[in-house]
């Protein structure tokens, strides 16, 4: 019995050490790692992607260790507000509503919301979306815009883009509205899908930071500007999105 208690104590101490013993201060980033190429889990189980690398570069500039937490996209804004994470970097679009709750850094990339359909679908342009069943990733701008435009009865919310695309392949929805970059990968991975030429919406990506944390916001913007000037930002984006 004594030995068991000793083992438990030792384990606890070890865990505590992992959590708090590192010398440098850490910056906690929240993301939803189901959004390639911005963030996704690679073969070794690590969260990688454009956002992960930019965050790493920003953290280094600011002299912090970076810790990435994977959570539902839905929860990111509230996690920023409650201080669970220092910032969210998740291919998140700047919107007026989100600006009421959090601050956004300067834009580091531009996102385009596109429509994925099956080849031969009767959805040939945006007008044809009326009355169709649209699949979205829950809580994304695609979700918010579509629900506003077409109403809840015409929008199915999935936990990830991959599930929404799976539903499209199964014929459970008529199209999926999602960011251009992951959309390209989804179309590549699933035969018989294509992206409509007309974009559904164009938007700016930025990091969400708590309203009261202006100190972090300023430091973040400063680091971002430096990275841009050094050409590091373009380098990271090019690495994941080869120029067409």
């Amino acid at each position: 019995m004594k030995r068991i208690i000793a083992a438990i104590l030792a384990t606890l101490m070890l865990v505590a050490c992992f959590a708090g013993c590192s010398g440098k201060k850490t910056l906690v980033m929240g993301t939803n790692a189901e959004f390639p190429p911005y963030e996704f889990v690679d073969d070794s189980g690590k969260i990688v992607g454009i956002d992960a690398e930019i965050a790493q570069a920003v953290a280094e500039k600011m002299g912090y260790e970076l810790e990435i937490r994977d959570m539902k996209f839905d929860s990111l804004i509230t996690a920023v507000q409650s201080g669970n994470i220092d910032f969210a970097l998740a291919g998140m679009t700047v919107t007026d509503e989100r600006l009421l709750s959090v601050n956004f850094s300067n834009t580091y990339a531009t996102g385009v919301q596109v429509v994925i359909v099956k080849e031969g679908s009767d959805i040939v342009n945006l007008d044809a979306l009326e009355g169709k069943m649209i699949g979205v990733q829950s809580g994304t701008t695609g979700d918010i815009y579509c629900t506003d435009d077409y109403g809840q009865d015409h929008v199915k919310q999935y936990d990830s883009g991959a599930l929404a695309v799976a539903a499209l392949v199964n014929g459970q929805v008529d199209c999926v509205i999602i960011d251009n970059e992951p959309a390209k990968n989804f179309v590549k991975a699933n035969a018989g899908l294509k992206i409509l030429d007309t974009e559904y919406a164009v938007e700016d990506y930025a990091a969400a930071i708590a309203k009261d944390n202006t100190e972090l916001l300023d430091a973040f913007n400063k680091a971002l500007a430096e990275l841009k000037a050094e050409g590091k930002l373009d380098e990271i984006i090019k690495k994941y999105i080869p120029a067409e």
């Binding site: 509503e97 699949g135 829950s138 918010i144 009865d153 919310q157 539903a167 199964n170 459970q172």
Partner: protein, 258 residues
């Protein structure tokens, strides 16, 4: 979408509201945003509809499946002779079912049913998919509860029934099950409560239950406090009502043991 801004809202609010302290103003604002603005209370009622339909459907299905499995397994285990082939096959099948269902997470079962096996195309189909998946899952747990209930009734009871000439099924139905039911009611109640709470998982197959709708409101308002606390209160009230109904039922059934 018109965006509701606190500054504009409070400027147009009635005087009594403006007289409140800041934190209370903010709280009322959040309540307003969550429930009243753009009739958002409908999110909750729409979500509750799905939650109720799925819970009740899955409950009925789960009890039927659970009862059948428990009877097969009890009949197999308590048969005096070597059980005939069909019974042995059914028992094998039930064991397989219990192992698979209890050995995999409900979330995984929902993903498989929702995107691989059933892949429903209509809203009604998706609701049915939720009911069937949760019902099949719950059935596995109900089966074990019912089986323990059947085992808790002394052999003498079924022997007395059989000695009168009642068949196995008649003995089960008139003598063993009514007594077992009384014994398992508390455990069955727990399973019902678990099921109600587990329905929040159906959002993975794109159903909007009450949890999902609360998330949708939080996504619209970017406020977590009021939507999620309200959601918790809704579940709490439902569970309290269920517990109360169960204890009334239990008291009724207990009238025979003085």
């Amino acid at each position: 979408m018109t965006i509701l801004n606190f500054t504009d809202w409070i400027a147009n609010a009635p005087a009594w509201l403006q007289a409140l302290p800041d934190w209370l103003q903010n709280f009322v604002f959040q309540l307003y945003q969550t429930f009243i603005y753009q009739n958002r209370w409908k999110f909750f009622t729409d979500g509750l509809k799905i939650t109720f339909i799925v819970t009740i459907g899955a409950l009925i299905l789960g009890v039927i499946i659970g009862l059948l499995i428990a009877i097969v397994r009890t009949a197999h285990d308590s048969s005096v002779k070597k059980p005939f082939f069909l019974l042995r096959f059914l028992n094998w099948f039930c064991n397989l079912y219990l192992t698979v269902i209890r050995g995999t997470p409900m979330m995984v079962q929902l993903l498989i049913m929702g995107f691989v096996i059933m892949a429903p195309k209509t809203e009604a189909g998706t609701i049915a998919c939720g009911i069937i998946t949760l019902g099949i899952n719950s059935g596995a747990y109900v089966a074990e509860i019912v089986r323990s209930g059947l085992m808790s009734i002394s052999v003498g009871q079924s022997e007395a029934g059989r000695s009168l000439g009642l068949s196995y099924a008649q003995t089960m139905w008139h003598i063993v099950i009514p007594q077992a039911f009384k014994n398992i009611l508390p455990a069955l109640g727990n399973e019902m409560i678990t099921l109600l709470k587990d329905t929040s998982l159906v959002s993975v197959i794109a159903l909007r239950d009450v949890t999902k709708q609360a998330q949708n409101i939080a996504n619209k308002t970017y406020q977590a406090f009021v939507p999620y606390i309200s959601l918790a209160l809704i579940y709490l009230v439902l569970v309290i009502v269920m517990t109360k109904l169960l204890s009334i039922l239990e008291r009724r059934l207990r009238k025979s043991d003085h």
